[in-house]
């Protein structure tokens, strides 16, 4: 059958171009011979006949190619053929190919890296069965203006028992325990939790079992290990179940091991134990120490659960009026994890999309310039029957080919970028540990490359499709078509506008970062070593031995060579929900629940304020007269003095924790110190109180050591002093305090760095874009410029002509970009710090940078324009 042979031929043809062209060559040779002999018979001399025949069959090489083109039949053959042709044509222009590939690799690489983060952090489902239905149930605490505060056990029990929209509510509380086994004692993060936590999250142990509610309520000493801890400390032994281990001085029985995927509440949680009932913790409605997570009934929305729990809350308030000010606030669990990072990731996704668009515009411009040069080639192909659609297809294949090469290089860049990102990322970025270039990211990059290729290939393909075959062949291939010109200029304006948007974003982030660094923390954090200490176990049950330990510690450390002073404080920096309490002031009625305010509870050794450089505003610091047996004293911060003592010195006034009628002792206010930003840069300073360590409650403290040189240099001495005082006390996270502060800004630093990097890439690409278009325009207009110079135009005129055109494009791009930046500013607001999205300084600076960059980009082509030699230019064609 004929058609089978056709298919076979076509297929062979794709593999075997040589054979097909040889056949065509043979066929044409036959034709030429026949024609020549006929012409000879008609009376021409043999040589002339041969010559004439060759002329008519002519352009043999071209016909071969064209014949080969046309003989390609179905999709596969044409495709393979086009790819080959495309590769050949890219190899023929290595400079162009290199620039285009690099440009695309940058754009695609940036997108790959950021998309990996976005998909890993924002989109990947939670590793729990019930992931979709999980929600955090917070206390909306109006007393300290914290919307995400914790609960007391009795309130939790009411929510658990009276709600109708949850399948289950569980509690947990992250806590560090000292783990003693073989080797050094180790502080390990773990969680107290209710027995139903595992069921609520939808997770089961890989080994053994989890504890029962009966065990929880009976305060059983049982522990469930994380997979990581089990592997690390027990070598993955299966017989660890039922073993008894030592944790924080208690005998705990191991009953089970959770799977590796079970990372709750955080990735580093090492174990789970039942909720504690120390000091009646489960009974007090005012001991607020538990976080609540729940699984919603199927089909129930967060809003419905919110309404349901508000109803329960109303019942609680009706029964217990002292709970006024304690509301309820439900947040979807996934939203809880990613809500804070989403704005940054969305902005970064937008930024890399801009970079890619600019890269596309640049490559499209390169292709347009190249297409003009190749117009003759395509006109010829069209003339001998290759069909317009066929040529457009050929061009698009070439573009996609370029994009695929760029995509592969981009994948490499993206992989490098992602690894750099993971290395740079702040510890707080959720799920950072699981980021990788997975199948989804690969598919994204592949799709992106294809779309990119079509996108930047479209312009030159359209331009070529518009070309008249005859026109180009005749006029010597100068090939300046109006459409191409407009496209090129439009693309440059668009990329300048995109780059301006990115530059404005980066500028705003830089300004925010600078503003944050100017903020006075109220503490001198340089040359300070900080480390956490925990005094636990029966030996430190009472305050006296703790106070004694701390006193001896700061004395001995303070006496070390190279140390200016040492002190301890409960914790220097506070979480959003610090250990806090309500209070009352002598001579003032109890605060009503509505106006009640809570203060964090902290105690410090006498030297703390001096060591940390906190100024005394009124009264005195603590000293050695503040002992465990002396009258209780307290120091308050400036905000508290201003808020509750209205300009009158509070020194000598008395206050107590709890209500006026509570058993707590009266404390005399002996000093007022300057505010310190202990809750970080982003939140307002709250009223705070400090107790002397001798009268305080802190069993876990931070030791701060001010040194004369490198703070880490004194760590070995500090460690040995602690060991000598009590070898069972572990040092936790010893670090320079500056590093702690830097970490508070780490995610902002990362976001700022990334946005600046992308903006700079965008700006450079856009500048290259202007340069390319202007250089091409000057080259195209060599003859015109030559004529102008010959007719007496001054160098200034010509210079002005070129600069004016380039600057016109830049001005349009700048205008559109600034307008777009203003319109998009809202998306940035959550990332900014004390800088409005419309910050005039940033806008003006970016406008300046853009103009300078545009002038530089136009300068080289302009210089070339004025060097045009009129004579050569006129002869040149």
């Amino acid at each position: 059958m004929g058609w089978m042979r056709v298919i076979r031929d076509r297929w062979r043809g794709t593999r075997d171009r040589e054979r097909v062209t040889a056949e065509i060559r043979a066929e044409l040779a036959h034709h030429e011979d026949q024609l020549a002999s006929q012409l000879e018979r008609g009376g021409l001399p043999p040589v002339e006949a041969r010559h004439e025949a060759r002329r008519r069959v002519g352009q043999r090489a071209l016909l071969q190619d064209a014949g080969y083109d046309v003989r390609g039949g179905g999709g596969l053959e044409i495709f393979v053929q086009d790819v080959r042709y495309g590769l050949r044509s890219l190899r023929g222009a290595p400079g162009f190919t290199l620039v285009a590939t690099l440009t695309l690799a940058l754009g695609i690489g940036a997108n790959t890296a950021i998309y990996s983060v976005a998909s890993g952090v924002l989109m990947r489902p939670l590793p729990f069965w019930n992931g979709e239905r999980l929600a955090m149930v917070w206390m909306d605490n109006a007393r300290i203006s914290v919307r995400e505060d914790w609960h007391s056990y009795p309130n939790y029990a009411n929510y658990r028992d009276w709600n109708t929209t949850f399948d289950g509510l569980a509690v947990f509380n992250q806590q560090n325990w000292t783990f003693t086994g073989d080797g050094d004692p180790e502080r390990l993060p773990g969680a107290h939790c209710s027995a139903n936590l595992f069921e609520v999250l939808g997770a089961a142990p890989v080994l053994g079992r989890t504890f029962t509610t009966a065990e929880e309520l009976a305060n059983a000493r049982v522990v469930v290990l994380s997979y990581g801890l089990w592997q690390r400390r027990f070598g993955g032994r299966r017989d660890v179940v039922n073993e008894t281990i030592q944790m924080s001085g208690r005998d705990m029985q191991v009953i089970g091991v959770m799977p590796a995927s079970f990372a709750f509440p955080s990735a580093d949680t090492g174990f789970w134990v039942p909720t504690t009932n120390v000091e009646g913790a489960r009974a007090g409605r005012n001991s607020i120490w538990l976080q609540v997570v729940g699984v919603r009934k199927p089909g129930v929305s967060v809003a419905q659960t919110q309404a349901d729990l508000e109803r329960v809350n109303a019942s609680i308030l009706a029964e217990f009026p002292n709970q006024k000010g304690y509301g309820v606030h439900v947040v979807d669990y996934h939203e809880q994890i990613v809500g804070n990072v989403r704005p940054a990731i969305v902005v970064l996704l937008g930024a890399v999309a801009c970079v890619l668009l600019i890269a596309c515009a640049n490559v499209a411009n390169l292709l347009l310039a190249r297409a003009s040069v190749r117009e003759r080639e395509f006109a010829l192909r069209a003339a001998i029957g290759a069909g317009r659609a066929r040529i457009v297809r050929q061009l698009l294949t070439e573009s996609v080919l370029l994009a695929v090469i760029g995509g592969l290089a981009g994948l490499g860049l993206g992989w490098l970028g992602l690894n750099a990102l993971i290395a740079l990322a702040p510890a707080g970025l959720p799920r950072i540990e699981s980021l990788a270039i997975d199948r989804g990211v690969l598919a994204f990059t592949a799709g992106l490359s294809l779309v990119t290729g079509l996108l930047f290939g479209l312009a030159p393909a359209l331009q070529t499709a518009q070309t008249e075959p005859g026109h180009s062949l005749k006029d010597g291939g100068r090939g300046v078509t109006g459409l191409g010109r407009i496209l090129r200029r439009g693309l440059v304006v668009a990329e300048i506008a995109l780059a301006v948007v990115l530059l404005v974003g980066a500028g705003l982030m830089l300004r925010s970062f600078a503003a944050m660094q100017r903020v006075d923390l109220g503490l001198r954090t340089d040359r300070v070593l900080s480390t956490r200490l925990a005094l636990l176990g029966p030996r430190y049950q009472d305050g006296a031995p703790r106070a004694e330990f701390y006193e001896r510690l700061v004395q001995r450390v303070g006496a070390l060579r190279g140390v200016e002073g040492a002190a301890t404080i409960g914790s220097i920096f506070l979480s959003a929900t610090p250990n806090s309490t309500n209070f009352s002031i002598e001579g003032r009625q109890d605060f009503t629940p509505e106006e009640s305010v809570e203060v964090p509870v902290d105690s410090v050794t006498p030297g703390y304020f001096k060591v940390m450089g906190v100024r005394l505003l009124d009264g005195r610091f603590f000293d050695h007269t503040d002992t465990i047996s002396s009258p209780p004293s307290v120091i308050i911060n400036q905000t508290m003095a201003r808020q509750f003592f209205e300009g009158v010195s509070p020194i000598g006034r008395r206050m107590k924790y709890g209500a006026l009628a509570s058993q707590a002792p009266w404390m005399t206010i002996v000093g007022v110190v300057a505010d310190t930003r202990r809750t970080g840069y982003e939140s307002a300073v709250r009223p705070e109180t400090y107790l002397p360590m001798s009268q305080g409650q802190d069993s876990v403290s931070t030791l701060v050591v001010r040194t004369t040189g490198d703070p880490m240099a004194v760590l070995p001495s500090v460690r040995s002093i602690v060991r000598e005082l009590d070898s069972s006390v572990p040092l936790q996270a010893p670090r320079p305090l500056d590093a702690v502060v830097a970490e508070m800004m780490a995610d902002r630093r990362l976001n700022t760095t990334l946005l600046v990097v992308f903006a700079v890439i965008a700006a450079v690409l856009a500048a290259v874009g202007i340069y390319g278009v202007m250089a091409y325009a000057v080259a195209q207009r060599t003859r015109e410029l030559g004529v102008r110079l010959a007719l007496g135009a001054s160098i200034r005129n010509v210079l002005g002509l070129v600069l004016l055109e380039g600057m016109g494009l830049a001005a349009m791009g700048l205008g559109i970009g600034l307008a777009a930046a203003l319109a998009l500013g809202g998306a940035m607001t959550r990332l900014l710090y004390q800088v409005p999205a419309t910050d005039p300084l940033t806008l003006v600076a970016i406008a300046g940078v853009t103009v300078v960059a545009a002038v530089l980009a136009c300068a080289l082509p302009a210089a070339r324009a004025i060097r045009v030699d009129p004579v050569i230019a006129l002869r040149g064609e």
Partner: protein, 108 residues
């Protein structure tokens, strides 16, 4: 003036199909025969003929095979397929309709 490439191709295709309707023929033969049949009015350029042949072969209207020519030389012979015959009929009919209509207008 802008030329309609498809229309030109179409006409050449029809003529080549018509020539091949009388039997298999090689490229050179087709061009000679066309010239002769048109009373030496039409002469097809080689640059158009071969692309047209390849295109029609690819569409399945004609089929080709290597053979020996009258003077014992190797040549590629083209032959009409059933599809090609149908195509010729269709194109002939449409051409007749067109020229007839044009004639009517001119003679009116």
């Amino acid at each position: 003036m802008r030329t309609n490439a498809d229309q030109l191709h179409g006409t050449l295709d029809m003529l080549v199909l018509k020539v091949l309707a009388s039997g298999p023929m090689h490229g050179y033969g087709i061009s000679v025969r066309l010239h002769a049949l048109s009373a030496e009015v039409l002469s097809v350029e080689e640059g158009s003929l071969y692309p047209a042949l390849y295109r029609m072969e690819q569409r399945g209207w004609i089929d080709s095979a290597w053979g020996l020519s009258d003077n014992n030389r190797r040549a590629r012979f083209y032959e009409l397929t059933r599809l090609g015959r149908k195509q010729l009929e269709a194109e002939t009919a449409s051409w007749r309709r067109l020229t007839g209509a044009v004639g009517l207008v001119l003679e009116a």
